[in-house]
C-alpha cells in the first residue's frame, strides 16, 4: 500500500499540488495500479537487455548550420506573462 507520505513525496517531485480530498483516492488508485504492474516482478528477466526505443536512432545528426528560428514575439505570444525580452515569472528567490 502506498502511504499518504509517499503520495505527498511523489507529488512534490512531480510539482503537483494535491487537494486534501485528492490524497487518499490517489494513494488507493496508485496502490491498485502498482500492485498490477508489479506482476512483472514474477518474470525471469536475468540478462535481458532493456528496450527504451524500437528504432535505432544512433547517429541521427544533421549539419550544424544556422537557420531561421521562431521570431521572439511569436515565441512569447502565448505566454501567460511576458516582457519584451522573455517570459515573466515570480522570483525564484522568493518563497
Amino acid at each position: 500500500m502506498i502511504t499518504r507520505d509517499e503520495v505527498l513525496h511523489v507529488a512534490r517531485l512531480a510539482r503537483l499540488e494535491l487537494s486534501e480530498d485528492e490524497i487518499e483516492p490517489m494513494a488507493r488508485e496508485l496502490s491498485a495500479v502498482s500492485d498490477y504492474v508489479a506482476t512483472i516482478a514474477e518474470l525471469d528477466l536475468d540478462g535481458v537487455p532493456p528496450t527504451s526505443h524500437v528504432v535505432d536512432i544512433s547517429g541521427a545528426l544533421r549539419a550544424d548550420e544556422p537557420r531561421e528560428c521562431l521570431p521572439r514575439e511569436e515565441a512569447l505570444d502565448q505566454a501567460p506573462s511576458a516582457g519584451e525580452d522573455g517570459f515573466l515569472v515570480p522570483s525564484p528567490q522568493a518563497g
Binding site: I2, V10, L18, E29, V37, T51, V55, A60, Q78, G95
Partner: protein, 483 residues
C-alpha cells in the same frame, strides 16, 4: 447532390472531384457545416469537435492534387498554426501554436485541408474520451455509450459521417480501439514511419499518428501521404519499400496467426463470436489460420503502465504556467515560483492525467527505478522477441481489437484498471513498434466489433492488403451510424 455526398467515402469523393462532377469547395462546406452543427448542438450532439473552420483555408477550394481537397479532421493534440491545439486539456485551453505538425502540413500540401479539430482524452490518456477537459464524445451507434479513446472524437466523427476522414494518434491503442468501437477502420503504422513533430507528446517512444477512415482504401490513401523522414523528428525514418492503395481480394497462402493469449480469456463472448466468424471468412479467401504463442503478451499491459506514465511524467513537465497555457497563482503565496507551478498543474490537469503523472514519477523515483522502469523495458524486449519468433511461422497476427463492445458512459470511470484493460490486445503491438490495423468485422448486441491485423515492422502495405481483402469478404455496413 448533397444527399449523395454523405455516402461518398474519401477516395470516392476525390474521384468525383477529379472527374469534375463535384467541387472541392462544395465538399468542404458540406462537412464544415455538418461539423459546426454537431459543435453547436452541445449536449445533444456527439461532441466530436473542439474547433471547426469558419471557412475554407486559402487554396483549399481548388481541389489540388493528389487528394483533390477532401477535407481532413485532426485530433486536438496536433499543433496547427493559429488554431486551438489543446490536447483535450484545460491547461492548454485556447493555445494557438506558432507552427503546424509535419503530418498535418504534409496532408494539406497533398490536398487534404484541415477543416476541424477533434475531441480526445486529455493528453491522449484514456480509452473512452471521457477524460477530455471539454466534455465527452458519444458513440453514434448508441449515444449513451463511449466512442472509445483516446482518438474518440475522430472515430465518432468518421463513423457518423461528420468527417470524410480523420487523423488520430495511437500510444497503446488510441486509434485502433475507438475505430473498433465505432465500426470504422483505424491504423497505427510502424513506429518511426510518420513524423511526430508537432504532436503534443504523451509517451514519445510509443506515440504514432495514423488514419481513421470509413474503409481500408481511404486509410491507405491517407497513410501514403503521411509517411517519410522529417528532419524535425530524429526517430522518423524514410519508409522502406512503397505504399499504394490496396487491391488484394484474396488471401491465398497468407498465414494468419491467432495468439491464444489475446483471443480467449478476458474477451467478451459476442466479440469472440464475431472474431471467429471473421477468421472463417479469411479461411474462405484462402488464408491458413494457425495458432501462435506470444508468451509475454499477458504482461504487456503491466509493462505499458510503467513505460507510458514514466515518459508522460517527463513530457508533461513542460506544462508549468510559464511559456503557454494556463497560469494560476496561489493567492496565499503570490511571489512563490514553485507554488505557481504546483497550483497551475493542480488546476489545469484532470484526474487521469494527475494519476499518470504521479504513477510515472513514482516509477522513476529513487529506489523504484530498477524494479519498475528497468524491468518494464526488459519485458518490452521479450515482447518484441515473441513477435519476431511468431513472424517466423506466420505472415500476420490477428486478434480481436478490444475485449468488449462500446460500454456506457460512466461505466468505467471509477475504476482505472478496468479502463486500462481496454488496451489489452493493442498494447503488445505498440511496445513492439509494429503496424496494426483494426477493421470492423461484425456486430455484437447491435454494436460494432473490430478485428486487429498486425505484421512485422514496415509490413504496413501487406497489413493493408490483407485488411482490404478481408474487408471485401466481410461486407460490414456502417451506415446505421451516419447522422
Amino acid at each position: 447532390m448533397s444527399a449523395g455526398l454523405l455516402e461518398l467515402g474519401a477516395a470516392a469523393a476525390r474521384a468525383e472531384i477529379d472527374a469534375g462532377r463535384l467541387s472541392a469547395a462544395e465538399l468542404f462546406d458540406f462537412y464544415r457545416d455538418r461539423a459546426a452543427a454537431d459543435r453547436d448542438a452541445d449536449g445533444s450532439g456527439l461532441g466530436c469537435f473542439t474547433w471547426v473552420a469558419a471557412e475554407a483555408p486559402a487554396g483549399a477550394r481548388d481541389g489540388s492534387p493528389p487528394l483533390a481537397g477532401v477535407p481532413l479532421a485532426v485530433k486536438d493534440l496536433f499543433c496547427t498554426r493559429g488554431v486551438p491545439s489543446q490536447s483535450g486539456s484545460r491547461i492548454l485551453e485556447g493555445y494557438l501554436p506558432p507552427y503546424t505538425a509535419t503530418v498535418v502540413s504534409r496532408l494539406a500540401e497533398a490536398g487534404a485541408p484541415l477543416f476541424a479539430k477533434t475531441n480526445q482524452d486529455e493528453f491522449a490518456m484514456g480509452s473512452s474520451t471521457e477524460n477530455s477537459g471539454f466534455g465527452p464524445s458519444r458513440n453514434p451507434w448508441d449515444r449513451d455509450r463511449v466512442p472509445g479513446g483516446s482518438s474518440g472524437g475522430s472515430a465518432a466523427a468518421v463513423a457518423a459521417g461528420l468527417a470524410p476522414w480523420a487523423l488520430g494518434t495511437d500510444t497503446g491503442g488510441s486509434i485502433r480501439q475507438p475505430a473498433a468501437l465505432c465500426g470504422i477502420v483505424g491504423m497505427k503504422p510502424t513506429y518511426g514511419s510518420v513524423s511526430r513533430y508537432g504532436m503534443i507528446a504523451f509517451a514519445s517512444s510509443l506515440d504514432q499518428a495514423g488514419p481513421l477512415t470509413r474503409d481500408v482504401g481511404d486509410a491507405a490513401l491517407l497513410l501514403l501521404h503521411m509517411v517519410g523522414r522529417d528532419p524535425c523528428d530524429a526517430t522518423s525514418l524514410e519508409f522502406p519499400g512503397s505504399l499504394a492503395t490496396p487491391t488484394a481480394e484474396r488471401l491465398d497462402g497468407v498465414r494468419l496467426g491467432v495468439p491464444g493469449e489475446l483471443s480467449g480469456e478476458g474477451i467478451e463472448a459476442g466479440v469472440l463470436d464475431a472474431f471467429n466468424a471473421a477468421l472463417e471468412q479469411a479461411r474462405g479467401l484462402g488464408a491458413e489460420i494457425t495458432g501462435v504463442t506470444l508468451p509475454h503478451a499477458p504482461h504487456a499491459l503491466a509493462a505499458y503502465y510503467v513505460i507510458a506514465p514514466a515518459e508522460a511524467s517527463s513530457n508533461l513537465a513542460r506544462f508549468d504556467g510559464v511559456r503557454y497555457g494556463m497560469r494560476h497563482i496561489d493567492d496565499a503565496r503570490p511571489e512563490d515560483l514553485v507554488a505557481m507551478y504546483t497550483r497551475t498543474r493542480h488546476d489545469g490537469f484532470g484526474p487521469e492525467v494527475k494519476r499518470r503523472v504521479m504513477l510515472g514519477t513514482y516509477a522513476l523515483s529513487s529506489g523504484y527505478y530498477d524494479a519498475y522502469y528497468g524491468r518494464a523495458q526488459q519485458v518490452r524486449t521479450k515482447i518484441a522477441e515473441d513477435f519476431r519468433a511468431a513472424f517466423e511461422e506466420v505472415d500476420l497476427i490477428v486478434t480481436p481489437t478490444a475485449p468488449t463492445v462500446a460500454f456506457e458512459l460512466g461505466e468505467k470511470t471509477g475504476d482505472p484498471l478496468a479502463m486500462y484493460l481496454n488496451d489489452y490486445c493493442t498494447v503488445p503491438m505498440s511496445l513492439a513498434g509494429i503496424p496494426a490495423i483494426s477493421i470492423p468485422c461484425g456486430l455484437s448486441e447491435g454494436l460494432p466489433v473490430g478485428i486487429q491485423i498486425a505484421g512485422p515492422a514496415f509490413s504496413d502495405a501487406r497489413v493493408l492488403d490483407a485488411a482490404h481483402a478481408l474487408e471485401g469478404a466481410l461486407g460490414f455496413d456502417g451506415s446505421a451510424a451516419l447522422v
